[in-house]
Assembly symmetry: C2
Homo-oligomer: 256 residues x 2
């Protein structure tokens, strides 16, 4: 890297903005603008420190910000280098239904279709690792945005405690909160599997869609601290209405 770069911009030591943040933003800018390209090396830490008359620890703090952003990486004995943007790995986020819906300016609502105690059949006994016939709490509900049904959920939790079902839970019976209240253990982990499918007859009627409508199916298992399953659920998302979007690479903002 051309040393002229780091002396061009000034640092305000008396600003309310931390020095490490100013330094980090400066390099972030250089990288986005292409003045620092992937694979290129940053100036040595001591040099940056001298240039701005600051401590090396402060420079390191700045660089650690850049590392957290994935913009650079370090190599002991060699230097700090600008990372290659990875454009082929993707992560799709599926957030909370209420938040997501509200963000889009729609009104979320949920309708409880049924709550009851059921005995575990073969599938459920395997999913929850309990003997056949064990008592389980069953919930089914529909989530809607502006009164258009979008998601159909079925949830099961181990029902060891004889606690009454609270009003609150009927409003938003999330699998993890159900497991806390009615299960025996504290949930700590959750596994979700997403696959594409076609709505079953039951699902077409609940979601008010035609036959052969594509859907996302998300299967969720909630585990306690001992890695034992305490809850299991299946959510069916309308594939024609629901999309998962993901942005990757640098400066992923402001696209749309």
């Amino acid at each position: 890297m051309d040393n002229k770069l780091i002396s061009q911009l000034k640092i305000d030591k008396n600003s309310v903005i931390p020095i490490y943040y100013q330094i980090a933003k400066m390099f972030e800018g250089y990288i986005y603008e292409g003045k620092l390209k992937p694979g290129e090396v940053l100036p040595p830490e001591h040099e940056i420190a001298e240039n701005f008359g600051i401590s090396r620890m402060t420079v390191r703090r700045a660089i650690s910000e850049l590392i957290n952003l994935g913009l650079v990486f370090t190599q002991k004995g060699k230097g700090t280098f600008v990372s290659e943007p990875k454009l082929n790995d993707v992560t799709f986020e599926l957030g909370d239904f209420y938040e997501e819906t509200s963000k889009k300016g729609m009104t979320p609502s949920s309708t409880l279709l049924g709550v009851r105690i059921v005995r575990a059949n073969k599938t459920l006994s395997e999913k929850l690792a309990v003997p056949l016939g064990t008592s389980c709490l069953y919930f089914s509900l529909v989530l809607a945005a502006d009164n258009e049904p979008l998601v159909y959920e079925k949830k099961y939790v181990k029902y060891t405690k004889q606690k009454p079902i609270l009003e609150v839970e009927l409003k938003d019976p999330s699998l993890s909160s159900l497991a806390v209240t009615h299960g025996s253990h504290f949930p700590t982990t959750s596994k979700r599997v997403l696959h594409a499918s076609i709505a079953t007859k039951e699902e077409t009627s609940v979601l008010e869609v035609k036959e052969n409508t594509p859907v996302f199916v998300v299967e969720q298992t909630v585990y306690d601290a001992e890695k034992k399953p305490v809850g299991w659920g299946k959510s069916v998302y309308r594939g024609d209405r629901y999309k998962l979007t993901s942005y990757i690479g640098w400066s992923a903002n402001n696209i749309k």
Copy 2:
């Protein structure tokens, strides 16, 4: 937090393992074991420092590790607290086809169906933000695992340079690398949209599946530094074979 906790374990100052790492792992253990529960406060930094006879900066380095792991958060003037595990947000990862397939012990392969120059129709001209009829490079290929077709991809890039198509590209024409070679700009960002659908007639024949098979459709747009689209592609994943799994919360390891 009970102060006894932090004096129970010993720290080896002369170990090759950094002190900050030992401290971080200690608290990580307490949190996973439930000795430190969500919402509880950690001892003040100066107290931890005194207890182990180390510098406060080293303690802060340890805590910053815990923050990066999402296990704790800090509040100025108040303290450091154990986070609530968020079990309702999910991120699904869709990695590189070759890596993913190899990891599962299968043999990945790709078959190029066609490469040619096409003129942009309405859809393509909108996606790539070019005038109707602009020359574009078109690729279509099938990705298979153990000779079973799993993904059908179609890709288009702006074709400004008159470069010859290289052998290498035929093997793995990823959208971003195509854009580098044949487009006018350097790609920096990518947007992907995932939705559920049903295989079209063309797709059923290419993927060798029945009619009405559910599929994932991933639409990818690659942008250059000026946020202008340089490439666009559509990948169709067999929904019956392809699953996206996600683990969330604490200690998500070792489930299966």
